[in-house]
């Protein structure tokens, strides 16, 4: 039964991995937006439109990742692939920007943050945590069906 789970030790074990993925995707998206704006679209002069589009794109990517997390936490594990896709997108944005000679720190963060996020998603703890969520969802569904 789920009562065997102690929330504090559960969080102590799994929360660092969980929030690591969230933070890595936040940093990856933010940096990717800056890289697009300054490396690829550095010569585009339409400032207000460019800024709005970039900010909107970043916000949209962020909302997608957060929504995927909310869905994943509720036990629908397929949502993980949405996070993977966004992280891969950030990585694909960051890598070729080397041709534009970005500041070294920005380049390092743009490449490393999606990689670390993917590594954490692939870690054993994250897999265990996802299995937990799946188990909790099964319990919830079983309970609500027996309740009816």
């Amino acid at each position: 039964m789920s009562t065997e789970l102690n929330p504090v030790s559960w969080l102590a074990r799994y929360y660092p991995v969980f929030i690591g993925v969230v933070l890595c995707s936040c940093v990856a998206i933010g940096t990717a937006v800056a890289v697009i704006g300054f490396s690829y679209l550095g010569d585009v002069a339409l400032k207000p439109i460019k800024g709005l589009a970039l900010l909107g794109g970043g916000t949209l990517a962020g909302l997608i990742v957060f929504l995927a997390h909310f869905i994943m936490v509720r036990g629908r594990l397929a949502a993980m692939w949405v996070i993977v896709a966004v992280l891969l997108g950030c990585l694909c944005t960051g890598l070729p920007s080397y041709l534009y000679q970005p500041p070294l720190g920005v380049y390092a963060v743009a490449v490393l943050s999606p990689l670390v996020g993917l590594l954490l998603l692939n870690s054993r703890r994250h897999r265990e945590m996802r299995q937990h969520w799946l188990m909790l969802r099964r319990q919830r569904e079983g309970r609500s069906q027996s309740g009816r």
Binding site: I19, V27, G30, G58, F66, P102
Partner: protein, 303 residues
């Protein structure tokens, strides 16, 4: 003479500098120009001359905002060309600005760390409370989203300032950007309001239903107290729940009759973490500019 009386600790150099500036600058016109901008009406004016004498030409008057705003005028050093001076001021600011943006981003992300722990523990707590209703509400999700977006914005601003710190200033001067960050601040502040209200409600309720002081309220309750408190908590989570409906659902085991101490403590801890996460979100937004609103709320929250 009068200036010497007002500021008894000024050095002769500072006195001369003040006299020099007051005669060389058209101060009323300068103040009028500042007051013409609604964003900085009544801002203090500070002048730093070439010898690094710092002279306050006008004190801040809280007209535009409660937060202190100052316009700082810095004079070029002698023997530097205008180009050199511009370069100096810009590079001077550059490193500090990247660092400051990084600190801001770190604070926003700390807020995100704490808001997401509330979200996550709310969802794993659901099976413990019998899968009835989760501690976390829509506001918890939106506060998590808003603090995450602030974290993204912080990371983006840090990267942008590493490219070109003028771009961040330009971004800040855009009205749409201000509007967006205001909305985000508002969303995480809504998290503050909600969590402060629910935390206070929870603690007052513990006190009212058990008659114990607040400090002892967290240290375990007996069976009857837990039952009363569970009823209150369930009503708090779902205001539509009438006592009769609650009894029916408890009989059908759809709702908990009484929480065990461990479950109850977890709910309390969640609320406290919620409050903590929310107030850190405030620090993040306070440091990135939207000061008056955030600090006002922060102080109110700290009481």
């Amino acid at each position: 003479m009068s200036t010497a009386l007002i500021q008894p600790f000024t050095t002769p150099s500072q006195r001369f500098a003040r006299q020099r500036i007051e005669t060389s600058l058209n101060l009323p016109r300068l103040f009028a120009a500042i007051d013409a901008d609604p964003g900085i009406v009544g801002a203090g004016v500070v002048y730093i001359d070439s010898d690094f004498n710092v002279i306050t030409l006008r004190e801040f008057k809280p007209i535009c905002s409660k937060a202190v705003k100052r316009v700082i005028l810095r004079e070029a050093k002698r023997h530097t060309t205008p180009e050199q001076f511009i370069n100096l001021v810009q590079t001077d600011r550059r490193e500090s600005q990247v660092l400051q943006e990084a600190i801001n981003a770190g604070l926003s992300c700390m807020g995100a760390v704490l808001s997401w722990v509330v979200m996550l523990s709310g969802t794993i707590a659901a099976p413990f409370t019998g899968g009835t209703s989760t501690v976390i509400t829509f506001i918890g999700y939106s506060a998590a989203t808003a603090s995450g977006l602030q974290c993204i914005a912080g990371a983006g601003r840090t990267a942008v300032s590493a490219y070109d710190q003028g771009a961040v200033d330009e971004l800040d001067s855009n009205e749409w950007y201000q509007a967006v960050s205001l909305i985000l601040d508002g969303m995480s502040l809504a998290g503050v309001g909600a969590s402060a209200v629910t935390t206070t409600k929870l603690l007052m309720m513990v006190k009212a239903s058990s008659g114990r002081p607040l400090r002892m309220a967290l240290q375990g309750l007996n069976r009857q107290e837990r039952k009363r408190l569970t009823a209150e908590l369930l009503a708090l989570k779902d205001p539509k729940l009438t006592p009769k409906l609650m009894k029916l659902r408890q009989a059908a085991k759809a709702l908990e009759k009484r929480y065990t101490p461990a479950q109850f403590k977890h709910a309390t801890v969640t609320q406290i973490k919620d409050a903590l996460g929310a107030s850190l979100g405030v620090i993040g937004s306070a440091r990135s500019g939207n000061i008056n609103v955030a600090v006002g709320l922060y102080e109110e929250h700290g009481e």
